[in-house]
């Protein structure tokens, strides 16, 4: 073997050593970053767009329960979506947050909600297409229970100026105690 050949071999060995050193450094850096990432995730928890837990409390913007047919039956959300009525969605006419119950066809049938803007809290029971029971308390009090079907309306209320009861059939007031109009905002 000549001197030139030995020099070439030694050069190649030096180059390989250099490359090996660079790869080792890159691998060490990658493993370090990965390890730090895993440690950070373990300490801080897995970030999520939809939910996170702290102290065993699940924090979400919404939760939907569906039945065996995939139909939405219970929804807890802030704010809640517009109501689905017999296959079509209609505007709610206000922003509310809370709990909705739907029937097997997905029709909204009941809600237990608070409203944004004017802080009422209310509970509703609906037929397939219309609301029929409203139980509401306004921010200052004045709880009212109202039941209606077509032109038949029953209203029971309590307020700072006393209790009230009113039964209406069409245009006719059948009973009003005392003779005043219970207010519903």
């Amino acid at each position: 073997m000549e001197d030139q050949d030995v020099k070439n071999i030694l050069n190649s060995i030096e180059k390989l050593k250099l490359r090996n050193s660079r790869l080792t450094r890159a691998l060490t850096a990658s493993v370090s970053v990965l390890t730090l990432g895993i440690i950070a995730l373990a300490v801080l928890g897995v970030p999520s767009k939809t939910a996170f837990t702290a102290g065993g409390v699940l924090t979400v913007r919404g939760l939907v329960v569906v039945d065996g047919n995939g139909v939405e039956r219970v929804r807890i959300e802030a704010p809640l979506p517009d109501p689905l009525v017999l296959g079509k969605r209609f505007p709610r006419g206000g922003v509310v947050s809370g709990i909705l119950l739907s029937d097997e066809e997905g029709n909204e049938r009941s809600g237990y909600v608070t409203s944004d803007g004017y802080p009422n809290v209310f509970f509703t029971l609906d037929s397939l297409a219309r609301q029929h029971v409203l139980f509401i308390t306004e921010p200052q009090g004045d709880p009212t229970l109202r039941l209606w079907d077509g032109t038949s309306v029953s209203t029971l209320s309590a307020g700072s100026d006393g209790p009230g009861l009113k039964l209406v059939a069409g245009e006719k007031t059948l009973l009003e105690i005392p003779a005043r109009k219970p207010a519903i905002k």
Binding site: N69, G70, V71, L84, L86, G87, K88, R89, F90, P91, E104, E105, G106, L128, A129, R130, G150
Partner: protein, 337 residues
């Protein structure tokens, strides 16, 4: 071991009897000749091409499905930005499929390629119904500001506006067969002279929102179904109510089979047969009912859907009726004996 010939005969007879069960109506023996499945959620709209060869449906699963109207084979599934679709229609020659959903645009699809041709803009909120002019050129939809918008579906132009009552939007629209009248249903029905852009009549009687309307093929009658649980049939030239139907009965399952509860529920769909003699209605009662269009006399009912029936369409020869439901199925009923 040799089986007697009668054994195979009985096997054949029993097999045929078993296979025929799905095609027979439990209530009145009327034939149900098909149950088509494909949608993942309730079906809200349905239309049949004028030649009767293709059916289009749309649903709360955000899809539009094109079917072979004779075999029930799915030909194409269309998707858009919508997450829910509420109404769908073929244009006159079935060149386009037009649909409305919850995103506030009217989508126009090429029926052949399935590609979105254009999105018609301008609605306030969204429209739960649409109507195409008989020549297939114009699409009308309710805007939630109370106006009715009309687009030329083949042009990228702003819509024409029929100025309604501010904020008072409706749920249904129907175009007369001659294209002259656009009926806009809220709680009452406003008849619009389409060419003049003016109101030509008002039909009052329903006590709640009208959910669906249909003109008879000769344009003389208009039928409307409402959340007030009635079907009303109107004579258009006289602008008067001809009769009101209050179909009682709500079908629900029980341990002994389907039970019909004698209650009134909202009605969602109405359609005239091509000869104008028969009126079909359906709704939350889960029944499809046929009536004599001229008199309102009950003819028969079809039972089979497990949830509200949302849309109806007769075949051009009048021998078949298609119904779509929130139970995710399309059922095909044979009318001719």
């Amino acid at each position: 071991m040799k089986m007697p010939r009668e054994f195979f005969g009985w096997i054949f007879i029993m097999s045929m009897a078993y296979l025929s069960v799905p095609f027979l109506n439990a209530q009145d023996g009327s034939p149900q000749i098909g149950i088509w499945k494909g949608h993942d959620s309730g079906i809200s709209g349905l239309d049949l091409s004028q030649d009767g060869t293709r059916l289009v449906t749309c649903g709360l699963d955000g899809t539009i499905r094109l079917w072979d109207a004779h075999t029930g084979r799915t030909l194409r599934v269309l998707r858009s930005r919508e997450t829910e679709f509420y109404a769908v229609a073929f244009s006159h020659t079935a060149k386009f499929i037009v649909a409305t959903g919850d995103k506030g645009e009217i989508s126009v699809f090429d029926a052949q390629s399935g590609k979105t041709v254009r999105e018609l803009q301008g609605l306030e909120g969204w429209s739960v119904d649409l109507a195409l002019s008989p020549d297939g050129r114009f699409a009308a939809a309710w805007s939630m500001d109370g106006h009715i918008l009309i687009w030329d579906i083949e042009a990228n132009a702003k819509p024409c506006v029929l100025a309604g009552d501010p904020g008072k939007w409706g749920m249904s629209l129907a175009w007369s067969p001659d294209g002259r009248i656009l009926a806009a249903g809220r709680v009452s029905i406003t008849l619009w002279d389409f060419k003049k852009g003016t109101r030509s009549g008002e039909l009052s009687g329903h006590k709640d929102f009208i959910r669906n309307m249909a003109f008879s093929p000769d344009g003389r009658l208009l039928a409307s179904t409402g959340l007030d649980k009635t079907v009303r049939v109107w004579e258009i030239p006289a602008a008067r109510e001809l009769y009101t139907l209050r179909p009682e009965g709500f079908v629900h399952p029980s341990t002994i089979g389907p039970v019909t509860e004698p209650i009134l529920v909202p009605l969602l769909a109405v359609s005239f047969s091509p000869d104008g003699k028969t009126l079909a209605t359906a709704g939350a009662d889960r029944l499809v009912r046929l009536w004599e269009a001229e008199t309102g006399r009950f003819i028969r009912s079809f039972q089979g859907h497990a949830m509200s029936v949302t849309a109806l369409a007769f075949s051009p020869d009048g021998k078949t009726l298609y119904s779509a439901s929130l139970d995710k199925t399309i059922r095909v009923w044979r009318l001719a004996r």
